[in-house]
């Protein structure tokens, strides 16, 4: 965006951040993610007036589609999944820039066609050579696509235009493969050209962690080992693996969720105040936390993995993991993982961070609970505070985004009795309608080149360094504990916290 534009004024805050002239190329455009999230997000952005005139969307897939078929597919996806109402005039604006390129990833002709499509769009739509490549493809196809982009000079940035690559998790399956993958990507794209999507970081509540911590005075003074007893980060899903057996088996919950989402949430919760709110400063602080994260010595006692067994989930009978289609009955893949880590710095020494995730748990919920120590002295007698738990601040990431503060309050009546109450801030109530989907925010950021909300190479590699020893330990010792579907995980997980004199919150 040119800074010399006289119509732009930082004080003019009504004018939204509109991406400059640009286009988005989606590889694997026929996939679920593309239909359910990416296409609707593009439409929602256009509907909110955040895309530049002439914005172009190029689909790349094997299917034999003409441009019109592709447009029709996007149309259907948008009608079904978009967050904002469908408006014909917005659609008319978008549809002019839609193109489809048919081909496989190793097809040189197809990439030639893609290149000429992009050149044609530069002329017809004025996209100015600025294109982002969204790789919504299986990990195995990554290297091929990246190499093809290089071979056909699609990654070359020339005279002021940009090319960016957007990649989805998994970022490898251990440190070694992550390093290899990074090497492949960075051979073609510079580090400022690569955007790794962790859609959790695009959620408003996650960004709100930073606002809450660093824009207020009342939380930061108690945000340390003197007041915090421990932190629990939970991401629970109520669904099973569905049709993802091929991807999921051998990967498991820890690699799928803890390595990226939960460690990122932990980093945001634990990090020091960044010197500014730009990408470099944020990454620096997150890297410090991840670098200071240590695993306990006895991994057997401080980690738990599980597999869902058959059971009843919300009134529905569901099969166990080992009975799912396409899963080896002897599979040792974890569908539940709970680990304890410590952040070894002055602020957090001695405060355990418990991270857990799982499929087929009680309900779908993601939250961060910062649990505080009990008051060092209580003037009330034991019976009065029997029902008083520990104070807590809970960030509900999804669903029902918001923040809950839990503290004790006197029960009305003649006797002194203190019980937990909670005070609630619901994002949904205060700002619902304008709260955008994570993918909207992230796609816009990619087009604007704003990398605040994207994890970097170092963060990915540090996360694997944390997780790798656990995975290695699990490979050698025992097998996953079974837990009935629809419960909150195996009893071993409860025992793990009991050993520390604590218990899991029921989220």
């Amino acid at each position: 965006m040119s800074s010399s534009n006289p119509l732009r004024d930082p004080a003019d805050r009504r004018l939204p951040r509109i991406a400059g002239p640009s286009g988005l190329v989606i590889f694997g455009v026929t996939g679920d993610l593309s239909r359910k999230k990416l296409m609707p997000a593009v439409y929602d952005l256009a509907n909110r007036g955040l895309l530049p005139p002439g914005f172009s969307l190029v689909g790349f897939a094997r299917r034999e589609w003409a441009h019109e078929d592709f447009a029709q597919e996007v149309h259907d996806a948008v009608k079904e999944h978009a967050r904002t109402p469908f408006r014909e005039e917005v659609w008319q604006q978008l549809v002019q820039g839609m193109r489809f390129v048919q081909g496989t990833f190793d097809d040189d002709d197809a990439f030639d066609r893609l290149r000429s499509t992009i050149e044609e769009l530069d002329k017809a739509q004025g996209t100015g050579g600025n294109f982002a490549f969204y790789l919504s493809v299986p990990p195995s196809a990554f290297p091929v696509v990246i190499q093809q982009l290089k071979k056909h000079k699609l990654a070359d940035q020339s005279d002021g235009s940009w090319r960016r690559a957007v990649i989805e998790k998994p970022f490898g399956h251990d440190l070694k493969s992550a390093e290899e993958l990074n090497a492949i990507v960075h051979e073609v794209f510079g580090s400022d050209q690569v955007f790794r999507i962790d859609h959790y970081l695009g959620k408003e509540t996650v960004q709100n962690i930073l606002a809450l911590r660093f824009a207020n005075t009342m939380f930061e003074p108690i945000w340390n080992r003197s007041f915090v007893d421990h932190v629990q980060i939970t991401m629970a899903e109520d669904i099973g693996i569905g049709g993802r057996a091929g991807y999921y088996d051998g990967i498991g919950a820890a690699r799928d969720v803890i390595q990226n989402h939960l460690l990122q949430l932990m980093a945001l919760t634990a990090m020091e105040e960044p010197s500014s709110f730009d990408a470099d400063a944020l990454a620096a602080e997150k890297v410090k936390v991840l670098g200071a994260t240590r695993l306990p010595k006895d991994l057997g006692k401080s980690t738990v993995r599980g597999q869902y067994a058959s059971g009843w989930q919300g009134g529905e009978k569901v099969a166990g993991y080992l009975q799912e289609d396409g899963i080896d009955p002897k599979s040792k893949t974890d569908t539940f993982a709970a680990i304890k880590v410590e952040v070894d710095n002055r602020r957090w020494a001695g405060v355990p961070f418990y991270l857990r995730t799982g499929k087929r748990l009680g309900r779908r919920v993601t939250e961060i609970a910062v649990v505080f120590q009990r008051a060092p002295h209580s003037p009330f007698d034991h019976t009065a505070t029997e029902e008083l738990g520990q104070n807590a601040i809970v960030f509900r990431v999804q669903p029902d985004e918001g923040v809950t503060v839990r503290f004790g309050s006197k029960v009305p009546g003649t006797s002194m009795e203190i019980r937990d109450v909670s005070m609630d801030f619901a994002y949904g109530e205060s700002f619902t309608e304008s709260s955008p989907e994570a993918y909207e925010r992230l796609i816009l950021d990619v087009l604007l080149g704003d990398s605040n909300l994207f994890p970097r190479t170092e963060e990915v590699e540090l996360s694997w360094k944390i997780l790798d020893p656990i995975e290695q330990y699990w490979d050698k010792h025992g097998k996953p504990a079974q837990y009935a579907s629809g419960t909150w995980g195996p009893v071993e997980a409860d025992e793990m916290l009991e050993r520390d004199g604590r218990s899991w919150r029921r989220p």
Binding site: L7, D12, N47, P53, G54, E89, Q125, G128, F425, F431
Partner: protein, 353 residues
């Protein structure tokens, strides 16, 4: 739920609000502001409907102040307050109190409104019609951080714009200004795409549509080039033409929904520029409650200085002097920086003429 209170007071209304909330089982939800709508009976329904829709984005307590017309001199001396308290499903996501004022209390509406404001939350006053000439010094306007008026609803919009400019106080805003945000953002995006200097501008739209004047003044203020305001049959704004060193840039919206952006040397592109309804405007208006300096600066540019070098400039030297005097007047009671440049600009222009 709905509670009707006849011949009541603010404290009884407050009590009804608390009781109502208890009855439907929701404690005070995270309401973010108090919106006071000052209107007559005729416009109350539409305004409240828009406010309720906007409240989905900004849960608020909405106070509708309806000043009833007294028929006889005797009615004018007896005063009465009727209130209708709406909670839950009937009031969007917040609470609504419709206050009907009769007789003498009409002139003391602030005494009814003050006790009903949410503690600690910002107050916005909105006059859908019949806004006072000096909103900040209106007894109700004085309670608010933000005062929303709508020059489009005024009888003589252009004259009203002048009055707004003279009385401008930080926190004032105009729905006619809100209406052009999509236009402004599209024009800014268009200029992002080229590196040319703009030489002159033409803004075309309906007569008596102050949004056209505001857009023209904004462009004149930011670009510092002559801006011509020309008339068309609408609807609303129809076109903006920028003459630049690399050819014309035209944003043309003939039908009120889909516009065409043409830039010399680039293909024509369709852009969605639908006219928005009042609820959407209010939602945008409530999103930021800080003073809108850009609006102030555009407004103070002055309608009289439009069409300056165009052939219609019949204002002559006396007009120029008048503008300069007015700008100097504004300079006296407004933040120094803006006003100074403004006065200087006006003086330059007067000299040139």
């Amino acid at each position: 739920m709905k509670t009707d209170l006849t011949d009541t007071t603010a404290s009884k209304v407050n009590k009804a609000l608390v009781q109502g909330r208890r009855a439907i089982g929701t404690p005070a939800v995270g309401m973010v502001l108090t919106l006071v709508i000052v209107t007559d009976e005729e416009n109350a329904y539409d305004a409240l409907k828009a406010a309720n829709e906007a409240s989905r984005e900004h849960p608020s307590r909405t106070l509708v102040v309806i000043k009833r017309v007294s028929r006889s001199p005797r009615d004018r001396t007896t005063s009465r307050l009727d209130a209708e308290v709406r909670l839950g499903a009937e009031a969007g996501t917040g609470e609504t109190v419709v206050l009907r004022l009769y007789g003498e209390v009409i002139n003391h509406a602030q005494s009814v409104v003050l006790p009903l404001l949410l503690p600690d939350a910002p107050v916005v006053v909105w006059w859908p019609v019949n806004a006072p000439l000096d909103p900040a010094n209106d007894p109700l306007g004085a309670l608010a951080q933000r005062r929303v008026t709508d020059t489009y609803a005024a009888e003589a919009p252009v004259r009203e714009l002048n009055a707004r400019a003279e009385a401008y106080t930080p926190g004032d805003t105009d729905l006619s200004w809100t209406r052009i945000t999509p236009w402004r953002s599209m024009l800014a995006a268009a200029l992002d795409q080229v590196t040319c200097d703009v030489d002159s501008v033409e803004v075309e739209g309906e007569e008596f549509n102050p949004s056209c004047e505001l857009l023209a003044m904004w462009l004149a203020d930011r670009l510092e080039v002559p801006v011509k305001r020309s008339l068309s049959s609408g609807p609303g704004l129809t076109a903006v033409r920028l003459d630049t060193s690399c050819g014309p840039i035209v944003l043309d919206r003939a039908d009120g929904t889909l516009a065409t952006l043409s830039i010399q040397g680039q293909p024509d592109r369709a852009v969605a520029l639908k006219r928005r309804d009042t609820a959407e405007l209010m939602a945008e208006e409530l999103r930021r409650l800080d003073p809108d300096d850009t609006y102030a600066s555009a407004l103070r540019f002055g309608v009289d200085r439009l069409n300056a070098t165009a052939d219609t400039a019949g204002s002559g030297s006396s007009g120029g002097t008048a503008t300069a005097t007015k700008a100097a007047q504004v300079a006296k009671d407004s933040p120094a920086g803006v006003a100074e440049t403004l006065a200087k600009k006006a003086a330059d222009k007067a000299a040139a003429e």
